[in-house]
Amino acid sequence: MHSIKEAVLTGIHFIDGDVACAEGAIAAGCRFSAGYPITPSTEVVERLAVRFPMVGGMFVQMEDELASSIAIIGAAWGGVKAMTVSSGPGISLMQEHIGLAVITETPTVWINVQRCGPSTGLPTLPAQGDMMQAQWGSHGDYPTLALCPNSPQEAFDLTIRAFNLAERYRTPVLVLLDEAVGHMLEKVVIPDADDIEVDARRFTDKPPSEYKPYECSEGSMVPDLAPVGQGYYFHVTGLTHDERGYPIMTADTQVDMMHRLMNKIDLEDVTDVRESEVDDCEVLVVSYGITSRVAERAILDARRQGLRVGHLRLVTVWPFPEQIVRDRATQDSVQRVVVPEMNLGQMVREVERTVAGARPVRLVGHPGGAVHDPNVILEAILEETS
């Protein structure tokens, strides 16, 4: 299925990451958004507020992020593709409803334009401090799908991908921008609607008498949705539930439900890692988001000095692409792994866990507020660890 012509602004644009993200959502078929203003994400919803009425969509500014984050879940059950948008403190407030979207298996997209924390922090400056929150912010175990664009173009592309993955796996999908990407003006190419692949909502073929909301068909781990208002009389709850969607307060039900939730995402399908000159590299840099662009500069400098440096850029950050990181980091040529990130050590823990001591892993952290000085990353790349 493709996007629709009247809604897509096909052409070459010079826009920032926030606006590109809003256009990506529209191209992906999003027609409802609820949000609450917060820097540096506000431009996303401001754009939606202008554009939605022209494409049959609606943006509502709610009274807070708790309301916004559950209004989109309600809208998704109403049959519409929906997303919410926030930053820092607002994302913290939304955590309970990320859990609700997970357990009720509600396709929704959550845009986080990261700023510096903790608390109100540095509202107008970039950070990548919400990486672990993205995986662990809501209580309980759950799989997280999170994508990390490093340019306005990718903010457009990955927002579309986020909607597609949300539909495919019936799960919340997070897009983790940061202030730098959100406010960076660059060329963004918006393709013809016909060239934009869009996953449609998947509704059951079964009649109401045979339908169970959380029963999967053969070979699938993702149940089909029923349309609301059509006599299916389905029940949706945030309590632990069985295939009928009925709350069942037993450990066995919890085991069954969690087993499916934790395994329903096809890792190969969702993983997106970009490799550059990783064959035979001596130093492997693992990065994501805006920091990958800063690291790119340091990597080029190091290569100019004769060092073989490979770059793994994580576009899908959650689920963490363990297999690829392990395989690359432990290939014979690699002597050490360098992980620059705009926080004081978050995804580096995943790299360390994955590499499991087979190679030294060096964090190049930054508390946020500005991107790294590429020379700091360069030094870390050049520095031999004993």
């Binding site: 049959g56 009274e63 309600g74 998704a76 109403g78 519409v80 909502r201 949706v236 945030g238 709350p247």
Partner: protein
């Protein structure tokens, strides 16, 4: 048959047994003997039957609490959400699918304490939904803690020496926040309550029905009000019906009376979606504005139209 079940079945019209409306495979329910929530559900079902709204077009949304379990027992499209957030969920559902009649059925703590902000803003925004609040003056589900509806000096587990705060007058709160329709009854008033819910369901805009209800197990026992029947007797003896009374005068005094009930406000004003479509047509013109219409504009299968909705 347990006393609670007897109560659940009593007030239902014979032509359509209550069983038709309940998920009987989920019985027995969790509510205590003498609890008023089942009575409120009966009144609701009776009201829905009278409206003639096609059953599949009614969706019920609950938050968390004893009352929050209502959604799970009704054989309708039903949503059991998070504590306090039933209203914003309902708003999303309604705006995505304006054909639906969306009803929020939840408790006083859920809607007015943790969800109080959403309550006043929903009334102000005037999205076309109906909110039924079972006010039992306490937090039932968690064991009888104080609520923003608990009478001053009443006993609760977290106010072991008596509540010190003045309770909200929910009708007045809804009214002054902008609700189009505001009413209050008790679980003693089964028939007028059903008629009122029926009326609320037919109103355009935010309609609010408060149902005073016994929680004999916690609030009743701790405040020496007796069992469910005793509390019903209080409702019967102390209630005065005052339709059209200004909501600030529509007070509730369980101890000394009166408990003022009735339909206090019925002042329809343009609901959110109507305002939206009108205003956008004016701002953008017919050519550029794509009206935010009923769900029939979209293909429920989601294929073909490409935009997965509109």
């Amino acid at each position: 048959m347990s006393p609670r079940k007897t109560q659940a079945l009593q007030a239902v019209p014979v032509n359509s047994p209550m069983e038709d409306w309940l998920r009987m495979d989920r019985m027995p329910h969790i509510w205590c003997p003498g609890c008023g929530i089942g009575t409120a559900v009966n009144a609701f079902v009776r009201a829905v039957e009278k409206t003639g709204i096609p059953r599949e077009k009614i969706a019920v949304v609950s938050g968390i609490g004893c009352t929050g379990r209502v959604a799970g027992y009704l054989k309708l499209d039903s949503f059991h959400t998070t504590h306090g957030r039933a209203i914003p969920f309902a708003i999303g559902l309604k705006l995505a699918n304006p054909e639906l009649h969306v009803v929020v059925f939840s408790g006083d703590g859920d809607l007015i304490a943790i969800g109080g902000n959403h309550f006043i803003h929903a009334a102000r925004r005037n999205v076309n939904i109906t909110v039924i609040c079972v006010n039992n003056f306490t937090y039932g589900m968690t064991g009888g803690q104080v609520a923003p509806t608990s009478p001053k000096f009443s006993m609760a587990t977290t106010t072991p020496y008596g509540s010190l705060e003045a309770p909200f007058n929910l009708a007045h709160l809804a009214d002054s926040s902008g609700a189009s329709y505001v009413a209050r009854y008790t679980t003693y008033h089964v028939r007028p309550l059903a008629n009122t819910i029926k009326q609320a369901l037919s109103k355009n805009g935010f309609s609010f029905v408060e149902v005073l209800s016994p929680c004999p197990t916690l609030f009743g026992r701790r405040n020496r009000l007796g069992d469910g029947l005793d509390i019903m007797r209080i409702f019967k003896e102390k209630s005065i019906r005052r339709d059209g009374l200004s909501t600030d005068a529509a007070t509730v005094d369980l101890k000394n009376g009166p408990i003022i009930v009735g339909r206090f406000k019925d002042q329809p004003r343009e609901a959110f979606l109507d305002v939206y479509n009108d205003a956008m047509t004016k701002a953008l013109g017919k050519d550029r504005f794509r009206p935010y219409g009923p769900v029939t504009m979209r293909n429920p299968k989601g294929d073909g139209d490409g935009d997965g909705g509109r």
